[in-house]
């Protein structure tokens, strides 16, 4: 019964969101595009990094690849095909990178993924200088903001469903074991490398598509614009704020943070960075385990000490 209610609520929410552009102005739609983009990115990030605990800063590397594919191919190929090719390239890069690096762990993995975005940016720059002789590329596609939004929304829904499905499948269980203890996982007979690689690839393909879908909004791309490392950090912060190990966590982190950024930059354009820094400090102190676990803990306390005890015992 409860499951049906949740499923029903989800469908209604998606329907409302899909119809929202019809009664919102351009600015409201712009907000929704930003929200849909970041929610999808954060969920895709958490899809891999949540259960495994591998902190990846490669988000923008894939977003950038997606955007560049659209910039390079949109004049010569039909749009759906461009998206497919972007996804394929994202997948190929993820497989190469994953095969060579997923044996790294801890801080080495973080450093590598951070470097990956820069590496790809320099490769693109190198190619443009030596082969095409221009750095910027133009995207003149007749895609309206509404269409961008609907595509992002669809991708976001697919990502959430995928996360939900993986969380309940054998591979999800395997991932949790890997996240807890890799040695145990390998002794139980889990193929660690393959499991991690599969998830990393899925997450990367989604990120690539987000970049590809959003690119027509910018008209002009150059490496400095699409490989902006801030995006990787924002996605990481959003997912962690919400709770990276849960289905709705990244969404609950991305939505309030995105709205907060928007509110701050609209009302305090000159003090944005200072206020943001202060808020981050506050968040870390007040919600060290993320929004979702904070809500759950307080909920437990209200329901009585026994429930709280149970939750303590569980965790």
């Amino acid at each position: 019964m409860k499951r049906f209610a949740i499923a029903g609520g989800f469908v209604v929410a998606v329907a409302v969101l899909a119809l929202a552009p019809l009664c919102l102005g351009a600015y409201g739609l712009g907000l929704l595009i930003g929200l849909a983009g970041y929610v999808t990115l954060a969920t895709a990030w958490a899809l891999f990094s949540g259960p495994t605990g591998y902190i990846s800063l490669a988000t923008v590397a894939f977003v950038g690849i997606g955007a560049y594919c659209v910039a390079a191919l949109s004049e010569v190929l039909p749009y759906p095909l461009v998206l497919l090719i972007a996804a394929a390239i994202g997948l190929a890069v993820a497989l190469i990178v994953g095969l060579s690096t997923l044996r790294l762990s801890g801080v080495y993995f973080v450093i590598f993924t951070f470097g990956l975005a820069e590496l790809i940016r320099q490769l693109v720059t190198f190619y443009e200088i030596n082969v095409t002789g221009t750095l910027g590329r133009y995207i003149f596609l007749g895609i309206t903001p509404e269409q961008i939004y609907w595509q992002l929304l669809a991708l976001g829904v697919i990502t959430l469903l995928l996360t939900w499905w993986i969380g309940r499948s054998r591979i999800g269980l395997a991932l949790k074991v890997i996240g807890d203890d890799e040695v145990v996982a390998s002794h139980v007979g889990i193929d660690i490398a393959r499991t991690k690689l599969a998830l990393f690839a899925v997450s990367a393909v989604i990120m690539t598509l987000v970049g590809a879908i959003q690119a027509p909004r910018w008209t002009y791309v150059e490496p400095a614009i699409v490989f902006n490392p801030t995006v990787s950090f924002l996605v990481l912060i959003m997912a962690l704020l919400g709770g990276a190990a849960r289905l709705w966590g990244p969404l609950l982190g991305a939505v309030p943070l995105f709205m907060l950024f928007e509110w701050l930059s609209a009302n305090f354009p000159n003090h944005y960075s200072i206020l943001l820094g202060l808020l981050f400090i506050l968040i870390v102190f007040a919600l060290p385990k993320g929004v979702l676990s904070f809500v759950e803990d307080n909920w437990m306390k209200r329901r009585g000490p026994r429930a709280a005890d149970r939750s303590e015992a569980r965790s």
């Binding site: 910027g136 400095a224 902006n228």
Partner: protein, 408 residues
Amino acid sequence: MTTWHKRARSALGLSAILLFSVGGVSAIAQERTSVKIGYAVSKTGPNAGGAGITTIPNYVLWAKEVKDAGGLELPDGKRLPVEIIEYDDRSSAEEVVRATERLATQDKVDFIFAPWGTGFNLAVAPLFDRFGYPQLAVSAVTDKAPEFVKRWKKSFWLLGGGHDYTEALAGVLKQAKAAGTINGKIAMISVADGFGIDLVTAARPSFKKAGLEVTYDVTYPAGTTDFTPMINEAAKGGADTFVAFSYPPETFAITQQAQVAKFNPKVMYLGVGTGFPIYGKNNGANAEGIMSLGGIDPKNEANTAYRKRHEEVTGKAPDLWGSVITYASLQMLQEAIKRKGLDREAVSKELSTGTFKAVLGETKLENNQLRTLWFGGQWQNGQFVAIAPVDRPGAAKPILPKPVWQAK
């Protein structure tokens, strides 16, 4: 299902009616008390350096001058105070797009000033077009302006394209070669980033057409600090003209390292940063003879007065390339509003067809582009004076060869 449909439709219809009526009422009932002008520009992030020199101080200066004059003048002679709404795009393309949407649809500003940078001006161009705002893009060097004007009728491109700058430089060098001052061999380095690539790609055909020979042509990654190997290589090839399409930090570094290496080409042309007042101040006598993009005509009194006011209001002198164009673009907009009022359509038309008396002198756009620009300048007696295009009246004669470095 059908009832839901009906309800949804009536709700949509109702909200549309509400929106419409609110809009209609406010338009009739409100007597204008101010003019709203907004802009989103990079106050933080990697683009803040450029925006903080060429763009923001001029917006601030203009707003103060209009305020001091008692407001923005309209065709009926009435003056309305200007309300400025500013946003920081944090050097992110997505952010500048959303901030522009906010200005147009939430703040409902009357006019929007352009952001800083080629990429950002292009990112917002479709929005300016869709919402019907004229876009006076200054800090955007692009050879594609004629195409953009066709695509976005209310866009104006005021700083020329890479090709213009390299043609102007080739003009200076051709003259010098004909006079026997230089041997026509060029060593050229460029930064592997937007500006450097555009310029070097345009320079190759320009030099070839002018009968000049490029003996050394390499790119370096942005952020390079050691130029000694490149300077040594450049010196070896027999070229006596050295060209660097560089960004500010590199421009300053090359100037210093060329002195250390005692590298004295007859022509030294450096990139962005050469036109900063601080460049002349820091390098003193050693700035003499160095060429770059931009330049000013020291005999233009309006410009001299502008530079003085800029320094008084913002506390620093404007750069000697884009700043004055930014300011001129605002003067043109102000004048167009004075002639046509707040009707954006009419103002855009006036901008593309009218003639304006701005700080640059009499200014008229050709096909929505400013074509009478100084594309090359040289430090002469402590001033960065315009020397190219060589055939434009008012161009100073280049001092060649460049004086040798003086020991400090």
